[in-house]
Symmetry: D2
Subunit: 505 residues, 4 copies
């Protein structure tokens, strides 16, 4: 995951982009970067770390200009599909481009071969963002070969990008001396929205991953960028927009609503908070169908993102909602000392139970989702040790059964507790007295009820349906078989990626 | 505020102290430090910043040994009473001492003069902790002048420290080659507790500001250190304890229960979480006496620490509890750019309202306390802009009317909204439709009900009674008058401090 | 000035490039950078500072591969012609190029406009090296448009570079996946030479600014690269060479022999040390013609580079050679403290006189050259204060009368003491009892005697003849007049540069 | 080796101390530190690295005040007698002291035991400087127990220091609020001198290791501090001086004249440069006695410090003096790369021969001294490869036969080429055609001729006579035998030191 932002203004934008990145920090804490421009000259600073650590006064002073963009990146080490290397990326021909990207390109490997062999463009990293910026650069070069660069050529190039690139991509880019460009893949998998603020000298435009970044910086939320749509804000602050995809259809990633986005964001017309309340409501119905209500004394959320669902569920059940777990907000490291054994880390360092809320009670724990199951298992154990009588577990999301290829950091099949297991098998593993999962369709209905205009969801982790059509759930099983019969070295990992992506053409 | 920890073990303690400091990080995010020892040799690392930023692998590797201590410090710049300079502190005569301290010495200025003029000890900072370590050093020198250093001499020295020093102090110290020492002022204003973990080679002891640090690192909570008590753990891991004060009496700082401590800590026999629930319960009674219940549609806490009180209040009122505000967890800076005006920062960058919980409703906002009133005023405004019909405000703590001299960062009289104002005047300033404060006695009863053994509370901010007897509320008014008639330069600040502390002898 | 190096080997090259840069450190102490490659992937590290400060173990470990290049850069801040920004530079299309450059492009401004307007390539700095790499990139793209890239296309592209670019340039570049390229401008102004070391797996090639870098790393000096010649070493270690200029002619910068190069280097067939001896020899003749020999008691060099000339001069005169000045090798800074006046810095902090060598004697001081005259003036004063009877000054180089546009950091006309002044006027300013300058033709003869194949020298500072033909001494006077009648702000500086460079087309 | 400096002024001293440390940088490049004081408050900055790297603007700004001291330290890792840990050192009782020290305490181990066991002072490092500051602190405490601190008490304390401490020590210290103290051991082994500069508000005093630091900062050289003498400059700028040793006698370390000090310094009345000329003169006589003059074509110094001796020698022989070797001034590191073999470093990276000065000639190489012999061997080989016909070697110092215990970094007996070998055996090892050593007595006469007041020299490396009387050459043989029969672990190293130092009581 990443959070991205772009701004054009009449006054300096460095602090504004910084503030917006802080509001998007939950989307990525691994690295951060900002580029600004004065005339055709770019100024960049990027580094690993959180926003407040990456940008010092001297860095901020070296980011002048009234136009710019920024990114925060999620840590995704060791994940074959992950977004690598620090953003923004820069290429100098044609025009001079910088670009930030949230998502994952599924045919990156094939595109790389084209770029290298045919377009003679050099890629120096494994990042699919570097692929994307070079594809855009190449298409801009073609579109504007003998023409001046205007919105027409920009949109022509982005149309070509849509034709060549597969996967998820919400993008903000700058063309040196020309303006700010933003676009979203034809399925609208990753979010992107526009806000504005009127000023004496003209309108300030901000484009960001989530509406909180707009509102938290005082901008008026204008609208979401449509799937396949491109937006170009020229140096005069004029906004041009055009649909650049052939058959766009809005299928946002359902995980944004489950746990990724901030609850106070509104994405594609849906309040994330409201979506979570609705998921709590439908989950309550499943609980009622499974457990006699008088078996439950108290509803306890597992912090943080499950709280709205749990609260609504508790209200629906008519049971007290109590925050029995305290989350440790300050995360540290385990250091490897020479000749010293490592103390086993556990969920206990992240969570602590308040005894009086568990002692002698039947507790219904609510989590937003269950991925590997190991954390759930430890939490159930903690609840028992805190004196709980019976421990029930409810998940606001359905079973996570398949990997994600659209930019969410998710383990492989074999590590997903729900992959190939029944609910009863999972319950036994976790060790709770009952386990209640949200239903896939119920979840989709609960969320889409808030915006009937939605075509559907990118919900492949739950339903195995990969919306871009170039990947299938069967591929992963094949890969899994292949993997387990081969030495898992780096080369293999690469071949694995190759296999998958060749399958997509 | 600070968080402190000390450990004696049979295995390396660097990671353990690091983990404990992370669990105490909420008590101070400005600086962090660790000292360990091998034989008589100390190893220290301290710096400004949060724990995870201050300690890197190379620093951790340079902290060997099975005994050590650490501290996290609160930012207190510009506060005349504040704890300054990075801890731990070190003096090399006698024996070699290192020390960490949570609290504030109220007669530091007079002690400094004694140390400089009579004891000929050099103080190189403005820190009262440097005063404290030198007083301890001097008394250890006297107590063990012609004797070997044993628990007897250590306790004799600490008894002398209690006689000379006034104010609040929870302390952990190491004597090179002898062991770990911990003690608490005779009123027990700041918390300190002991935990243990059995091991094959002997018991591992941990002493920490809060019980979460013990439990989060797998230690069994043994007990609180009593007011005036000293504990000495020698190099064999033997724990010695003795009351070293003449008339100790347990009067913990009530602010620990209001908002300082983690809810999952138990301090002086009282669950902080339970104390907050009780405060919500008594506050509910005040609300009922003030407002017709049907005037309230929903109870909304102002995150974070007011949640338990608000939850209990809502339950007592029979009204829905809703988390209508989302807190921005990632805090950044406002950079001063040459020739650039600074964007006004507001509560909006820290909090965001979820519209659907406010629209058309009468909301009762609950905060843990109201200090300057400026934040409350902005929050009320935000609630109205989010569409609230009526906005009521309730404070789980009584009006804050007086400064704090025991180590809590609190503004001066003139900045306290409740200093010299009626509740109606405050309500008008804040702009809410009703304002309900907790009652001082009700608060004390609500918390002390959980441990009848308590003598009382250090609650000077609320009741103007300074328990160490060397400061009075009248002093502050005198200072205030003096201040406003003088240029507020550094020298003045110093003279102010002088005046106060001279008054205390 | 800069020092550059490139290596292709069968084993890792990071340490080798590092060692070579140390041997070239005298050519630039402001910044340093290395790029290596594995396959088509580049690894780069560059920063301001000296080589030993810029490269730490972690940086070196991140520079894998058996091919690479590096650079050290001279500080040239505030000089309109200076080489700016850290090298190496990188462009990703076509192929992926990195490049280091020693010299200065005199038509950079005009090329920039072509690149931006016609080639649509983005330049993000003021560096002429960025211009050069983009010209090379563009010409490579054209040369290999529909062809595979071989030595033929590489040489075709470099021929085009020679046609478009004016000024001085010794260049080493890498083409990702293809090999190492090196070339020198058609006048051979800046030096570049090739060395080799046989190995079990094949020959290791090193290309460097000076022969000391080859020999100090154990390489056999092969030959200088000819003016206009290009060398391409492919991935198999095969060296291809071709003359790419139309009418090349060897005119090395005479300043390399005067003071830039290390005495133990051999440049274009001439031992720098020997050249300096010869200059001392011819200077001796001028001294004899000016002063009665018995008027001179001792010959004292002004360290460092004048020592060989002074030694030979002393021998020729039959006078003792004595090192009466000690140079302070450790240079520091003068810090600006708020509200504190700055102690005046003087030559005394760089040089110290040994009294016994001056007291009561007639001394002949020998310097390599006299630029501003301010240092000479102070040194004469020091000699007098040390007790010298008479103080004569001799300069191994002729009067410096004109600015340099080929990459040597030299002040403008108005700051050159010899610009428009007679020798007697200069003598009066410096305050010595006699002043003897080398003669321009004598200097040229003294050096060229060591290699009759030389066409001539780039000696514009002395003779006002700018060999590339696009700049004339008259231009500088025009600029100077213009400058003095205009506010000297940044914009003016830019216009100045523009004027000069437009004049060159 | 170290360089130390102290200043009392009427204006800020930070830049002044910085400039002085630069002038002393040749005495130590491993670490640097400065302490200044305002009133009784000390400000310190120290770190590893050279002066220009250690002090940045922010560090300099944090060093206010008109009194202060500083130090540069030589790298002495792995030498049992070496000065460890960064200086200045600080102790806070009594008064507050900071101290810098050049030299080595030979009874440090015994003193440590006294400090720990009797004085109960904690030592946290292996540094003998920490021992020294604690001895001084303890004696100041005793001397001024019931008295005000004046020059009388300071001199009483230093007299006691002289009685307790053995070895070499030139010291500058500050007593917070009282003034600057400087003293030199009773044999005056390490240098220390005083300079002054008159000012409108009073005299500025500077105390430094060498006279160049005084003169290079514009101070008038007053005099050397006498052996055993102490100097105290009080807060009014009044200088008090007193002899504090019982039987002082001036025996400066002869190595200062051989190669340590800068040639332009005057130490204990002797010009270092003149001393080197004299050594060249007497060495010439030895050469004449050994070799037929017509066998020598040219005299070539091995840079840097042998140049004056070689120049004088050449003149005496009537042979040309030629600088045939060029020293590489920029020293780097050899990085250890995982799985990569290390390129062998050689003298060739530090020195380069200029072929034309060697080819076909009989060369007489002159070095200041020969320690291990390995470098000499390589240099002879380089001369031969450069084409020399015959290669003779002359050493301006006599054979180095014994270790140094007074602060000079010198290898152990077994590594000294001259330990137990005849000149012929050494010549064979080095591989030269003739080897001429200075004679011990001739050297002493040559230097002492310049100041007849000298009692003698600390010349133990050459004559085996350890002037402080607590160490004998025989001890080292005993240790050597012991060492070779024992595992050379850290504990052994410690025991070795113990044995030596116990022998001294």
């Amino acid at each position: 995951m990443c959070g991205i932002v772009g701004v054009t203004s009449k006054s300096p934008v460095n602090q504004l982009i910084y503030d917006a990145l802080l509001l998007l920090q939950h989307r990525g804490q691994d690295a951060a970067g900002i580029v600004t421009a004065v005339g055709t000259k770019f100024f960049m600073h990027k580094a690993r770390g959180m926003v407040r650590d990456v940008f010092r006064t001297r860095n901020m002073r070296a980011l002048p200009g009234t136009i710019g963009l920024g990114q925060v990146r999620y840590p995704t080490a060791g994940n074959a599909y992950s977004e690598e290397e620090a953003q923004p990326f820069y290429v100098n021909a044609p025009f001079g481009l910088v670009l930030v990207h949230n998502g994952n390109i599924t045919n990156a490997h094939a595109l790389k071969k084209e770029l290298f062999g045919i377009d003679r463009r050099h890629l120096n990293t494994e990042s699919d963002t570097e692929v994307l910026i070079n594809i855009l650069a190449h298409e801009l070069e073609l579109a504007a070969r003998d023409l001046p660069l205007t919105a027409v050529e920009v949109f022509k190039a982005i149309s070509a990008v849509h034709r060549r690139v597969k996967g998820s991509y919400a993008v903000v880019a700058m063309i040196a001396g020309y303006g700010l460009v933003a676009f979203r893949d034809p399925y609208g998998i990753r979010p992107l929205c526009i806000g504005s603020m009127p000023g004496a000298d003209g309108t300030e435009w901000m484009i960001a991953s989530e509406s909180v970044a707009l509102e938290g910086t005082g901008h008026h939320f204008e609208r979401d960028i449509a799937p396949g749509e491109a937006v170009f804000i020229d140096m005069d602050g004029q906004l041009h927009a055009q649909q650049c995809a052939v058959a766009p259809s809005l299928n946002p990633c359902v995980f944004e609503f489950v746990y990724l986005a901030r609850p106070d964001s509104v994405i594609d017309g849906i309040s994330v908070y409201h979506a979570r309340l609705n998921m709590g409501e439908t989950l309550a119905q499943r609980v009622i169908n499974t457990l006699p209500p008088n078996e439950i004394d108290v509803v306890i959320p597992i912090p943080e993102s499950s709280r709205p669902s749990a609260m609504q569920l508790a209200q629906k059940l008519g049971k007290p909602y109590r925050e029995g777990f305290v989350k440790n907000r300050y995360v540290g490291r385990t250091f490897i000392m020479p000749g010293q054994s490592v103390r086993k880390k556990s969920v206990r360092q992240k969570l602590n139970a308040i005894g009086m809320e568990f002692k002698g009670r039947n507790v219904l724990l609510v989590d937003d989702s269950i991925v590997r199951g190991t954390t759930s298992k430890e939490i159930v154990q903690m609840a028992r040790e805190a004196g709980a009588n019976k421990v029930y577990m409810a998940s606001a999301a359905p079973p996570v059964r398949f990997p994600n290829v659209y930019g969410i950091d998710m383990p492989t099949n074999s590590e997903l507790i729900a992959h190939g297991r029944t609910t009863e098998e999972i319950r036994q593993y976790i060790g709770c007295d009952a386990l209640i999962y949200q239903d896939v369709d119920a979840m989709k209905r609960a969320v889409s009820a808030l915006n009937p205009a939605l075509a559907g969801f990118e919900a492949s982790c739950f339903d195995g349906h990969y919306i871009t059509g170039d990947v299938t759930a069967a591929d992963f099983d094949a890969i899994l078989t292949q993997r387990s019969s081969q030495p898992q070295d780096e080369e293999t990992a690469d071949r694995t990626r190759l296999a998958l992506q060749n399958a997509s053409e």
